[in-house]
Amino acid sequence: MIALLRTEFVKAARRTRTLIIALALVGLPTLIVVAIKARGNRPDRGDRGEGLFRLASQSGLLVPGAVLSVMSGFLLVVIAGSIAGDSVASDASWGNLRYVLMRPVSRGRLLAAKASVAGVLIWAATILVAIAGLIAGIALFGVHPVNVPGLSLGGTGAGFQLSTGALVARTALGAAYVAFSFSALLAMGTFFSTLTDTATGAIGATIGVYIVSEILDSISQLGVVRYGFPTHYSDAWTTMFTANTFSHDMIAGVVVQAAYFVVFSAAALWWFRTKDIRS
């Protein structure tokens, strides 16, 4: 299995697309940090991640959280969807899938290897964003504790201070939560990737499901149904910084992601093991 993982990793890592994504994941956080620096302390306009953005200028240690809060909403979804949707379908579209299976490699092991490599790349993308933000943030804002004022960020009481140790720990936990929150997307993308020999179709379907989920999640009239959407708890981690609480929504988010992961992974495995390989 190790050899299979290595071969799948080399195939994915050596693509030009992977290099471009890596450059974007380093470059964009750097640009965002420069924008935070340039923006200074102008008034809050209520934008997404605004609270973390305004605080970020206090300490470079808070910058990764601010950057992740912006990029996890769309750009990381697109990147994770591309990686997951491409996992099986790319080999199929090249016509190479049949040759790997005739090597022979068991279909279950091959799917597990491809999904694992996609998962590693998605985690790597998230961590790369955090590290790029951290380096740029420290370079521009230094390392300091952060004073979070009450009420203005949606909190209910007095303000609080986050020490540098707390910032580091919560940033690590936040990045892990963001990466884990792509588990549903990973499994769905892998499943869609087994359904088609066209990588763009699988990628489009994966990202499309997430966009639809985001849209439906914004309709409050749907009530408790929204709690089951894969994107509903995506931002639950930000309260670690803005409200000094570890929200129960994070646990719910983990459960929802795990449930989607299990269901769609099982579906992908069943389908891939039984389908006719015609590509």
Binding site: A3, T7, G95, M102, T274, R278
Partner: protein, 304 residues
């Protein structure tokens, strides 16, 4: 008696209402070079896909080396297969493609028959170029290199000369000849009848998914399984050819000989003549496989 290398019994494959393969039974014995003949859409590739575990039969039995075929079954370790065109990871070099494909099976690349494979590919320094820069012919040759890495006992080749220029086609045919001389069994699909006639000992004809005919190439050509030969010493050649086990009768006709064959390839006749020091002037079938093939298809159409 040992199991056939390939055997099918009542093999069927449906795609919805379409019967792609319908009740096909045949077997390939060790050392045979079997041609799978049929027009486009006859079901040839579907049969090869089922043999390599890529598709599951709707009904019937399918065995390789005596064991049932399942997806990614262990018998495939003894098979070198090229189904449709050779395909690779385009952004990797030819060499890295070979290495990753081999290592995906959990075996060290040092165990692969790399020198022989590279000699067959004949790509020289291009082996280190990305595959996306290759011509179709180069990809096909790299495909042959890949399937030879494991020194396969059975070669399954689907239209192996498609997309190649005449020089490359000749190289591939010579390669197949060398491999069969070394004892490999070959199952080869093609709609190039002259290719099958030149390369194969046996053939089966498929049309609309059904088996139309199965036998030696000579049998398929029927009474016309005869070969016309001209040499510089006709009497001596008659004696030499008549002594061959694959020859049933040799008669003089005009300036040459008409040789009736039971089995075997026409190249066996050429080899016997040249080995005896005679000069071969002409060697050609009295009737082409193409004639027999078209007759068989026409007969099936009438029958159905």
């Amino acid at each position: 008696m040992s199991d056939p290398i390939v055997s099918t019994e009542g093999l069927c494959k449906r795609f919805g209402e379409v019967k792609a393969v319908d009740d096909v039974t045949f077997s390939v014995e060790r050392g045979q070079v079997y041609g799978l003949l049929g027009p486009n859409g006859a079901g040839k590739t579907t049969i090869l896909r089922m043999l390599t575990g890529l598709e599951r039969p709707t009904a019937g039995n399918l065995r390789l080396f005596g064991e049932p075929v399942t997806p990614s079954c262990a018998q495939l370790l003894r098979v070198g297969a090229m189904v449709e065109q050779a395909a690779f990871v385009p952004h990797l070099s030819g060499m890295l493609n070979l290495k990753l494909w081999w290592e995906a099976g959990g075996t060290s690349f040092a165990d692969a028959d790399l020198d022989n494979a590279l000699a067959v590919a004949g790509l020289d320094s291009a082996i280190d170029r990305k595959v996306r820069t290759y011509s179709q012919g180069m990809k096909q040759r790299l495909g042959f290199a890949r399937l030879l890495l494991s020194r396969p006992e059975l070669l399954i080749l689907d239209e192996p000369t498609n997309g190649l220029d005449p020089g490359e086609i000749r190289e591939i045919r010579e390669l197949i000849g060398r491999l069969t001389d070394d004892g490999a069994t070959v199952l080869l699909s093609s709609h190039h009848l002259n290719e099958v006639e030149q390369v194969c000992t046996h053939a089966l004809v498929i049309n609309h998914g059904r088996l139309v005919a199965d036998g030696t190439v000579s049998e398929l050509i029927g009474s016309s399984g005869a070969v016309y030969v001209e040499v510089d010493d006709r009497d001596r050649a008659q004696a030499i050819l008549a002594a061959l086990p694959s020859v049933s009768d040799v008669q003089q006709q005009g300036d040459g000989l008409v040789v009736h064959m039971r089995d075997g390839r026409r190249s066996d006749l050429a080899a016997a003549i040249t080995t005896a020091g005679l000069r071969l002037e002409t060697l050609m079938p009295t009737q082409q496989l193409e004639d027999a093939f078209l007759d068989l298809l026409a007969a099936q159409e009438v029958a159905s």
